[in-house]
Symmetry: C2
Subunit: 224 residues, 2 copies
Amino acid sequence: MLYAGFMSADLPPFPKPQEPLDTPQLLEVGSAPDEPCLRADAARNRARLLEAAARLIAEHGAAGVTMEAVAAAAGVGKGTVFRRFGDRTGLLTALLDHSAKKLQADFLGGPPPLGPGAPPVERLRAFGVAVLYRSAEQLDLHLAAQPEPTRRFSHPSYRALHTHVTVLLRQILPGADHELLARPLMAFLDPALVNHLTRQCGMPMERLEKGWLDLVARVTRTEV
Amino acid sequence: MLYAGFMSADLPPFPKPQEPLDTPQLLEVGSAPDEPCLRADAARNRARLLEAAARLIAEHGAAGVTMEAVAAAAGVGKGTVFRRFGDRTGLLTALLDHSAKKLQADFLGGPPPLGPGAPPVERLRAFGVAVLYRSAEQLDLHLAAQPEPTRRFSHPSYRALHTHVTVLLRQILPGADHELLARPLMAFLDPALVNHLTRQCGMPMERLEKGWLDLVARVTRTEV
DNA sequence: AATGTAACTGGACCTCGGTCCGGTTAAGGT
DNA sequence: ACCTTAACCGGACCGAGGTCCAGTTACATT
C-alpha cells in the first residue's frame, strides 16, 4: 500500500525548485535511505544542526530558540540552516521525524490493534489514542513545528495521518464521504487542541482519550 | 443568556495591561456602545485605519498588506495602529467584526432556524451552514486574521461559536461530554480547512454543506 | 595530480511585526 | 481663557525569519 511516508528528505539542490507540497513526495515507508546522497560536509552540518537544535530546545523551550542561535550553536552560518531545512518549520519537523516515522510504521505495518489485522474500528480507536499521547509527549515541539494555517493540511505529515484515517473509514462506512468525515476526527488530534485542552483548560489526558473513543463511536455507528 | 460577545472593544489605555483573553471580556450582545469613550482624534484615526485597511486588502489581497502600509495609507504612524488594535490579528479581526456581530446576533436572537425557536438539532445544522458560507465569503480575511495556533482556541470569536455549539449539544445529548464533542464540529468550520478543501482540493461548497449535515447527523444520533 | 563544476557555505542584508518614548493634543475643571 | 494631565501620536528602533551571492570545497573525471 505504501501511500504514506513523512517528509524528511532534505531539500533539493537549490535554488529552491521545491514545491515539495505539490509533488506528493511519497516515499515508501520502510526502505528509503532518505538522505539522497548528501555531500559529506553537508551531512555533517545537518547532523550538527539537529543536535544543536535538540539541545537548545531542551534548555530553553521550543519557542525560545531562534534560528540564528541554532546556527551559532552548530557552528555554521544561518544560510546553511535554511538551505538544509527550508524554514523553521522544516527544522522542527525534522526533529520530530523519528517519532513520526515510528508512528507511521506502527499503524502501517506493526502489530494489532494499531497495525493491520485488527478490525478497522479498533484500529481507528487505537490510532487516535496513539496520536493523542504522542502529541502530548512532545507538545512544545509539535506546537512550534506547526506550519502556517494555510499549509497545515498540505503538510506531508498531516496528509499521511489523514489518508490513514480515510482508508480506515472507507472500510467501516462504505457509503460515506470518507475524505470529509476524516477531517473532524483528525482535528480532535490536533496538537494545538491538545495543548489548549490540557494546559489551558486543565483536562486530564484520560478525558481526551474518552472523548476520542466516544467520537469514533458516534461517527462510525452504522445502523439506522 | 448573553454568554457571548465578540471581541471588538479597543485596547485599554496602555501600557498594555491587557490580557483580554484571560479576563473573559464578555459584552452583552445587543446593547453595548462598544467604543468606551474614545478620544476624538483616536476615534477618527481608528476609522481611517479600518477604511485604509479594507481598501488596501481589496486591492492587494489580505496577505500582501503590511501594517506599515496600512498606517501610511491612513496617514498615521505605525505605532498608532498597534496602540489601537494590539497586533495584526486585532486589526484584521476588527475588519471582520461587523459580520461576526451579525452572525452572533442571528444565532443568538434571530429568527429560526438559526435563532431560538427551532429544535436544537435544526439550529445546529443551520448554524454550521451559516458559518461555512460566511467563512467562504471572506476567506482571505479569515485566513489572515487567524491568530497563532496557540491562541486560536482562546480567541473570543472562536469561544463564542464554540460555546454556542456546546449549549446546543447539551440540549440534544444530555449525557455527553459537550465541551469536547463540540471541538470536532467547530473544526469542520475552520476557515483554514474550508480554504484547503475548496481551493486546493477543488471541492464545491455543496459538498462541504452535505458533509456538515452528515457529521451533525452522525454525532447527534441518540439511539444506541 | 590536476582540473572542472556542482554543491555547499556564511554572513551581510532585507522585510515586517512589534515596542518604546519624547513630544503633542484633546478634554475637563477653575 | 488658561492650566493640568491623561491619553494619544509618530517614527526611530529592535529582533527574528528568510534571501542572496561571492567565495569555498568536495567529488568525479581524466
